[in-house]
Structure formats: C-alpha cells, structure tokens
C-alpha cells in the first residue's frame, strides 16, 4: 500500500481550512436574512451537500458503466466509494432540508419533487449496498452493482419528472412548493459569495473523502488477496 500521496495530504489540509473558512463566511460574513434569520444559514450547507450528492451520483453511474465496458475492477472501487459518500451527503442534505423546512413551512417533510426524489435515491443506494452484500464473487458483485446503478440512474430523472408533473396538477398541500426553495428569497451578493464558497468547499471535501474511500477499497482488496494466497 503506497503511503499517502502528497496531493492527498494537501487536499485534506485544504478541506479542513476551507471548511472553517466556510463556517466563518456563513456565520460572520453573510448577512442575516430578513425573514428567517439564523435558520436560513443552514441553507448553504443544504445546497452544498445536495450538490455534492448529485456529483457522487453521476460519478457512480458513470464509473459503473465504465466498469462494464473495461472489466477493470478499479472502477468498481470508485463506484462503491461514490455510492457510499453520495449516500451520506444526500442524507445530510435531506436532514438539513428538514431542519430548514420546519420553521419555514411548518412541517418536517414535504412531498415535493426534489425531496422525494432524494429520498428515493437514498433507497436506491441502500438497495445497491444490500445487493453487493449478498454476492461473494467480486467480479459478479461489480457487474451487478454497475447494472443496478445504471438502472437506478436512468430511473431517477424519470421519477423526478413524474413527481413534478404530479405536483403541477395537484399542487403541494403543504408549504410553498419546491420551486420556492431557492428563489423565494433574493440572494444578495454577499450571500451568493458565501454560497459559492460553500459549494467549492464541499466539492473539495467530496474529492478528499472519495480518494480516501478508494484507498480503503484498494486496501481491502489487497487483504482479500493475501488471505486467499496464504490459505492456498
């Protein structure tokens, strides 16, 4: 196992620095929003996490397909890493969204398109992980995982669209509806700056975590190999 490459060390330091920077910006620099005050600040994290979740989702779908084409197990490790990390980030996004929703709309949950699709996506991730757990052969596990990620990835946009259509015909009973989320309050330049900074911060954190998780996956594979070799 190669020792931690310099770039990774730089990344993790950068992640930590950026994160504190983001905290600083959010709490000290960004102005208080008129209506929502401090609660609105969670929004920066909510959006950033959701963005990163989306990134992870795309990475998972793409690397899965690449694996199917190349049959190189390295891509499977990346896919698994992307799925796991995306799972966590989306979860944080959903929870932070909930925390934001309660004071704004009076409810923890709303069945709007984005939130519901995020929840369904979490289910797909969990299903993928459960699928992987039930298969011993690494090659088959990688193949099935890739196939399922692909199917899941294709279904999610359709699901989102369907719920959207459902909503326009039957507008959400509770709350102002999903489209209100970002546009309901105007973002002043300082707020926009904070938003972008947070997006960048979380993207860096995403890459760092992904890298670490990939290394972990490689390590696990090496151990499995050693185990079999010693037993033979």
């Amino acid at each position: 196992m190669q020792p931690q490459p310099k770039v990774l060390t730089v990344l993790i330091i950068l992640s930590i620095v950026l994160f504190f920077g983001a905290l600083g910006m959010v709490f000290l620099y960004a102005p208080l929003e008129a209506v929502m005050n401090y609660v609105q600040k969670i929004f920066y994290f909510h959006i950033s996490n959701a963005w990163v979740g989306m990134l992870g989702f795309i990475v998972a779908a793409v690397t899965g397909t690449v694996y199917l084409v190349t049959k190189d197990l390295k891509w499977d490790i990346v896919e698994l890493a992307a799925v796991e990390i995306s799972l966590v980030f989306f979860f944080i996004a959903i929870v932070s969204g909930s925390i934001w929703a309660k004071p704004s709309w009076g409810t923890w949950w709303t069945w709007d398109a984005r939130l519901t699709t995020a929840a369904i996506l979490e289910m797909i991730y969990l299903a993928c992980l459960l699928l992987r757990q039930g298969i011993e052969d690494p090659e088959r596990r990688a193949r099935f995982s890739a196939v399922y990620t692909l199917v899941g990835a294709l279904s999610v946009p359709i699901t989102f669209l369907s719920i959207r259509i459902w909503q326009t015909i039957h507008p959400a009973v509770i709350g102002a509806g999903s489209s209100g989320a970002l546009g309901s309050f105007g973002m002043t330049p300082p707020m926009l700056n904070t938003m972008f900074f947070c997006l960048i911060t979380f993207s860096v954190i995403f890459v760092t975590l992904l890298w670490y998780r990939i290394r972990l996956g490689q390590l696990a594979e090496q151990i499995a190999q050693l185990k079999i070799e010693t037993l033979q």
Binding site: D137, A224, I228, Q232
Partner: protein
Amino acid sequence: MKRFGPKIVLRGLDFEVHPGEFVALLGPNGAGKTTFLRILASLSSSTLGDVCVAGYRLPAQAVAVRARLGVVTHLPLLYGDLTAEENLRFYGRMYDVPNLGSRMDEVLEMVGLAPRRRDLVRTFSRGMQQRLAIGRAILHDPEVMLFDEPYTGLDQEACDMLDRLLRDVAGRGRTVVMTSHDLARVEELATRFDVLSRGAIVASTRREDLGKSNLLDFYRKALAG
C-alpha cells in the same frame, strides 16, 4: 487461467483434444474439473488464455460452439413439471433441431424412455432423469460432448445403462470429455486419461500407453508426484 476474484482456480492449462477421442478428466475434489468443463461448455469464461472448441473460439463465437456441443452434468437440467416429450420438444426448439418430431422418437428409443414419454419428469427416478438428460444432450447431434460426473447418485442398473449409452454415443465418432470419480468405469470407456490437480494438468496418458499398470496406480502416482 481462471480466477474468481483473488482465488485462482485454473492455472496455465494446455489442453488439446483430437476429434473422436474420449478423454477422461480425473482429479480430486476441488481440483477445478467442473470449472474447466464449464469453460469448455461456454458457461464460464477464462480470465486469461484462449479457448477453442469444435473449431470456434470462445467467447467470441459462443453461439456456434453451443450448437455443436452437448453437455450432461450431474444435474439433469430438466423441467419437472413437463413430460419427457415436452422437455425434449423444448430443447429441440431452443436448438432449432430439424425434423424435431422424428428426432425425438429416435432419441427416446435410444435412451429407452419411449414408453414413459408422456410422464412428468418429476416422477422419474434419478437414473431415468439422467438418461433423458443424455437424450436432451444428443438431440441436436453434437460433435463434442461434455460429461460432468454423470454417474453421481445412480444405482447399479442405471450405471450399466449409462455405460451402454456412453459407448453408443462415443461410438458414433463424437469427441467426448468426461470427468468422473468412478475410475473403474472410466477405464473401460476412455481412450485417454488426464489428471487435474490444484488447477493444473499433472499427467496425461493414452489408453494404449497404460499397459500393464492399471488406472488407479497411474492416478495415485500422478497425484503424488
């Protein structure tokens, strides 16, 4: 070479069979016989290395290979809820066998199951199922036949019948590769004996070259050496 993840099951096999040969593939459990046969049968693919059966490469020309291949494993690959006839008809259609009706009659006669053709396979004894399985395998008149432990679970009478069938099948110029634990039976049938141990072929001999020593000694020596 064949590996399942980090586990290497077959290594560096160089295996060549000439048309008309009857090769008995022997070896202890876990040697990789079944894995090897599955690769030849196009059910599995080798991790590294080229495989060529009946003149066609695997896996690129798998369809062509399968059309010329008949496989019998210790599982009969038959549908219990269908009759013997229906099973054969199904496989006949899958293999696009011409003149299916008369071919089915022929095969049922050959395996001695004509009187039971309308009975559900569920009601057959293991020996009868195995016979029907052979019928299924020869339905499309394959050039090459693979048998994986066909004698497993058969009683004496069924074994004898299987012997007769195998002789008949091999006698028509087909190429056969068979794995078996039953050295005595195999000694009578095969023209060549290969021993597979821990994923590699450790010994190979033709029947003529066995000479005075019997198969059991050859086998034991091969494994020890």
